[in-house]
């Protein structure tokens, strides 16, 4: 029962493996199967949300914390599947395989949030990453420039490098503490925390996670991968894996004892660099996906802000923020996947006159972008605001970082607004209408409701995240 959602994903992946063997495939059938398994996974996650167990020799822990993330991962998966259901950018012949890897990647993420042992954690991380490495080059080669190959290679090379660094750090941790179980590592590290070796180890491991979260300076892959991957793939990469990254970061940052100021300082600097770098470069982007990629780097900085408080409230707010971020971004990618006619990349101009071509999608896009920009009462605002409050609570030395972060929120509005401007004020000219089926409309409406309600009523979900994070502290 405890690993029901994982089993559902595995079944889904196997089902697609079986489907991929068949010669006569109906597009609709493949698509509906994917959505079906997505929904089943979500329901399973919902059922098993209060499960608790430890299995596989203590390597795999199912607790409130992991179940919170599984719930969010499965919900994100459902929206990603519906939002990108047409898979315009993926060749028909490989669609079952594509879905298989998608489900495997999700499986990796789910086991990642449950992993409490270094080897398990590493294997899960690789499972989720390798599936993604394969999904990127699956894009149709319509332009002939093979940019998806470039993106795939970039992703895998940077990914392997980051993994190597992380593995190296893990070996240090094992060497210093003699165990691979997180539970035993924590007291072990506390004893030797003043030694440079321990600091070195923790920073190396964190670097690996920063790569997943796309945080400065481990962000180099983001723009090219986002641009090179199909819209649907990017929609997934930009959202769901970040949940796993945040879960991991929280599990690791909890190990950092409160009196280690240097790690906190390092995280503050990285967070601010991320924000400025992401926001300033996003200002000049013309490709929507690249822009969202840079905005993602900036948002990763905000999430790190929540973690550097080293308090349960801060972690809970970070969990709330990343969940909100996933839905805001999925809202945008749902629109992108649908507006893109044949799966090509979209520039901001391609969204011109969207309000006429498809009012519902325009509204979804505007809401998602305003939320990303941190306009109340959407979830982006509440997350940002509570994170800043939590950080400033830590003392006056955080005043300057908080002010700089607030300035970033001001910078960001410009590029989000330029997209909204295109969708709402420009003329459509010759651009065609956008076809949207009922399922997408329902999902879009659900996303809008989630984005607004999560922002307007954050108390319950943060309280829940707080209890969840306290179970592992």
């Amino acid at each position: 029962m405890a690993i029901l959602p994982e089993l559902a994903l595995l079944t889904g992946a196997l089902a697609f493996f079986a489907l991929s063997l068949s010669k006569h495939l109906d597009d609709n059938q493949v698509r509906n199967t994917a959505v079906f398994f997505g929904v089943v996974t979500f329901l399973c996650a919902l059922i098993s949300v209060h499960q608790e167990s430890t299995s596989f020799a203590g390597c795999y822990q199912v607790d409130l914390f992991s179940q919170f993330f599984k719930l969010m991962i499965s919900l994100g998966l459902v929206f990603a599947l519906i939002g990108g259901q047409d898979l315009k950018g993926i060749d028909k012949a490989v669609r079952p395989e594509y879905y298989m890897f998608l489900f495997l990647s999700c499986l990796g993420l789910m086991s990642l949030v449950s992993a409490v042992e270094l080897i398990t954690l590493f294997v899960s991380l690789e499972l989720s990453s390798f599936a993604l490495y394969l999904m990127i080059p699956m894009r149709d080669d319509r332009t002939g420039t093979r940019e998806q190959m470039e993106a795939g290679i970039k992703y895998i090379l940077f990914g392997v490098l980051a993994t190597g660094v992380m593995l190296y750090g893990m070996s240090y941790i094992f060497g210093l503490t003699g165990t691979t179980y997180l539970q035993e590592i924590v007291p072990g590290l506390k004893k030797i925390v003043s030694q440079p070796a321990a600091f070195f180890a923790v920073v190396m491991v964190l670097a690996g996670f920063f790569y997943k979260l796309a945080l400065f300076p481990m962000h180099f892959w983001v723009p090219d991968v986002y641009e090179g991957a199909a819209n649907e793939t990017t929609g997934f990469i930009a959202t769901v894996p970040k949940l796993g990254a945040v879960a991991l970061l929280i599990r690791f940052v909890i190990m950092v004892p409160g009196d280690v100021r240097i790690i906190v300082d390092l995280m503050t600097v990285l967070a601010l660099c991320s924000m400025f770098y992401g926001n300033l470069i996003a200002l000049v982007q013309t490709d929507v996906k690249r822009m969202l990629g840079y905005s993602g780097i900036a948002h990763a900085g905000f999430i790190l802000f929540g973690l550097l408080t080293l308090k349960s409230n801060g972690y809970a707010t970070a969990m709330y923020y990343i969940s909100g971020y996933v839905f805001m971004n999925l809202a945008c990618y749902t629109v992108l996947s649908h507006v893109s006619e044949k799966g090509e990349n979209l520039s901001i101009k391609d969204l011109n006159g969207l309000h006429k071509r498809q009012p519902m999608m325009a509204l979804l896009l505007a809401l998602g972008l305003f939320a990303l920009a941190g306009i109340p009462p959407m979830v982006g605002f509440m997350g940002e605001f509570l994170l800043l409050t939590e950080v400033l609570k830590e003392g006056p030395r955080f005043l300057i970082p908080v002010i700089l972060a607030a300035i970033n929120a001001g910078i960001a509005i410009y590029y989000y607004l330029s997209v909204i401007k295109a969708a709402y004020t420009e003329d459509a000219d010759e651009r065609p209408g956008v076809a949207v089926n009922t399922l997408t409309k329902v999902a879009g409406a659900a996303l809008m409701v989630i984005i607004v309600l999560m922002g307007a009523f954050p108390a319950r979900i943060i309280a829940y995240a707080d209890t969840a994070v306290k179970t592992i502290m």
């Binding site: 605001f385 005043l399 001001g410 509005i413 607004l417 401007k421 709402y424 004020t425």
Partner: protein, 504 residues
């Protein structure tokens, strides 16, 4: 929480906030244009009617917040949903509810494309305007303060004039960037007090440097909204490009949010800093008055003229607030209402001409008096009111402000006098051109006079011009107690600090 008088029974203020929201949601499902117009008019009229009990039930003798509601919102951070009105906010709430039906009426024919989304934006706008003036929790206030940018941005960007994109983005970024520090100040205040409840933050013993920083953060955000010289540059652009209803809302209500913020936050939360920095702000206000006057004098675009006159008029408001005596502040509040009525009406007038001639150029609208007698009658009264002609509303406001200023600082008051003269100059110049023009008037014989809808739209404004102008006492009574309380507290703090300095 003992400064609240909790409303038993029907939650009137919540209703006023969420009723237009419900009305807007209905428009999502029924998008017929005719229906949208009528529905929105109905909703705003009902909203206006439901705000009238605020007048009848308002107790003018208490300094507490009335019609209050308090509910938990985000307990982890002690953020609550608290609403209430006092003498400082009551008139502004009423202004924002009463003005909306006329904005809808003014857009009846003016808005031809995408009518339903327009009406949707108007209703959403109403939500944030009322919410902002009644919010007593800082987070709630902030939510409305920022949220309001979305509908206003869309009103300008979608239904605006030729340079709408430039104007709308400038408006959005100016306001948002200005309030970035406000957010940090709010968090800092929360950390000192442990609550976001606004009255809890007032009259606390903060250190002087803290007060100064908080004051500056507040002031930057509010000064941009007012807008004070020299951060006013977004205003003419936004006003000129916005559709008539947008201009009216912008002038009548949005600008007041800035001065309301100064009264509600700057004075009570950071009194020491207020005393310290008031002299500079006063001279800044004078600069705004004079600058607004001279620039308005040079305009050929009617809307720009009215927009720059706003800069001057709002200068009087900030002058009245920071002179820190009861005449000044009461005058400032009355002047806020006056500016809402008069400038709103002037924008409506400009819009009516624009609908007929499709130009806002002053020289293309000359000599219409012969063909539009009703129109020029209204225009004349509003123009007279705008430069503070005795018997009209602005006279009361400006007189109180100037009288308050003379009590404290004569050079300052003398410096403000040219502003009123300039106002007369630019308004009479506009009036002369529109009514009579010269010998080279364009042919205006095709113009039709105001129809019934337009007369109905303008008449209530005229009523208020004379009501406030001839019998301002009921309005002053409503604000008097709260203003006195504010000043007693303020000067109490001042006295205490002076005593402390003397003893040291």
């Amino acid at each position: 929480m003992d400064c609240l008088i909790i409303q038993e029974g029907f939650p009137l203020l919540s209703f006023l906030i969420f009723f237009p929201l419900a009305g807007a949601l209905v428009l999502l499902f029924f998008s017929d244009e005719k229906f949208a117009r009528r529905w929105t008019l109905g909703v705003t009229l009902l909203e206006a009617a439901f705000s009238l009990p605020l007048i009848t039930g308002f107790d003018t003798t208490t300094v507490k917040f009335q019609f209050a509601e308090a509910h938990q919102w985000i307990p982890q951070w002690n953020i609550n949903y608290i609403l209430g009105v006092d003498g400082i906010s009551i008139l502004l709430v009423l202004l924002s509810t009463l003005i909306m039906p006329f904005c809808v009426l003014a857009s009846w024919r003016y808005i031809k494309t995408r009518v339903t989304p327009f009406m949707f934006c108007m209703l959403i706008m109403q939500v944030s305007m009322v919410g902002l003036f009644v919010a007593l929790d800082f987070v709630l206030f902030w939510v409305f303060w920022e949220f309001m940018l979305i509908p206003m941005y869309l009103l300008i960007a979608v239904w605006g004039g030729p340079r709408k994109e430039y104007a709308s983005i400038k408006f959005f970024i100016y306001t948002l960037a200005g309030s970035v520090f406000l957010l940090v100040a709010i968090i800092a205040l929360y950390l000192k007090n442990g609550s976001f409840f606004i009255p809890d933050m007032m009259w606390q013993q903060y250190s002087t440097p803290f007060q100064v920083w908080v004051f500056l953060a507040f002031f930057l955000a509010f000064a941009i909204k007012v807008p004070m010289f020299p951060v006013h540059t977004w205003l003419p652009a936004a006003h000129v490009e916005a559709p008539t209803a947008g201009s009216v809302i912008l002038a009548s209500v949005l600008l007041k949010m800035g001065t309301y913020g100064m009264l509600r936050f700057c004075l009570p939360i950071t009194p020491e800093a207020t005393f310290m920095l008031a002299p500079y702000i006063l001279w800044l206000s004078i600069a705004g008055i004079i600058y607004g006057g001279f620039t308005a004098l040079a305009q050929h675009d009617m809307k720009k003229l009215v927009a720059y006159s706003s800069v001057g008029h709002m200068g009087f408001v900030t002058l009245g607030i920071f002179i820190l005596n009861s005449r000044g502040i009461e005058g400032a509040i009355i002047q806020m209402i006056n500016h809402g009525v008069t400038t709103g009406a002037l924008f409506l007038c400009v819009g009516m001409i624009y609908e007929r001639t499709h130009s806002r150029e002053l020289r293309l609208a000359t000599g219409v008096g012969k063909y539009m007698p009703w129109y020029v009658t209204f225009l004349a009264f509003f123009a007279l009111s705008s430069f503070g002609f005795p018997g009209t509303n602005s006279f009361i406001g400006e007189f109180l402000v100037l009288a308050g200023t003379f009590e404290v600082n004569k050079p300052l008051a003398l410096a403000a006098i040219p502003g009123t003269v300039l106002a007369a100059a630019y308004m009479l110049r506009m009036l002369q051109k529109i009514v009579w023009g010269g010998t080279d008037n364009p042919d205006q014989s095709h113009l039709t006079d105001l129809n019934m809808r337009e007369i109905v739209t303008l008449a209530p404004f005229l009523l208020f011009v004379f009501w406030i102008g001839l019998g301002p006492q009921p309005f002053l009574d409503m604000i008097h107690t709260s203003v006195n309380h504010l000043l007693t507290q303020l000067h109490g703090i001042d006295g205490a600090t002076v005593a402390a300095t003397l003893l040291r």
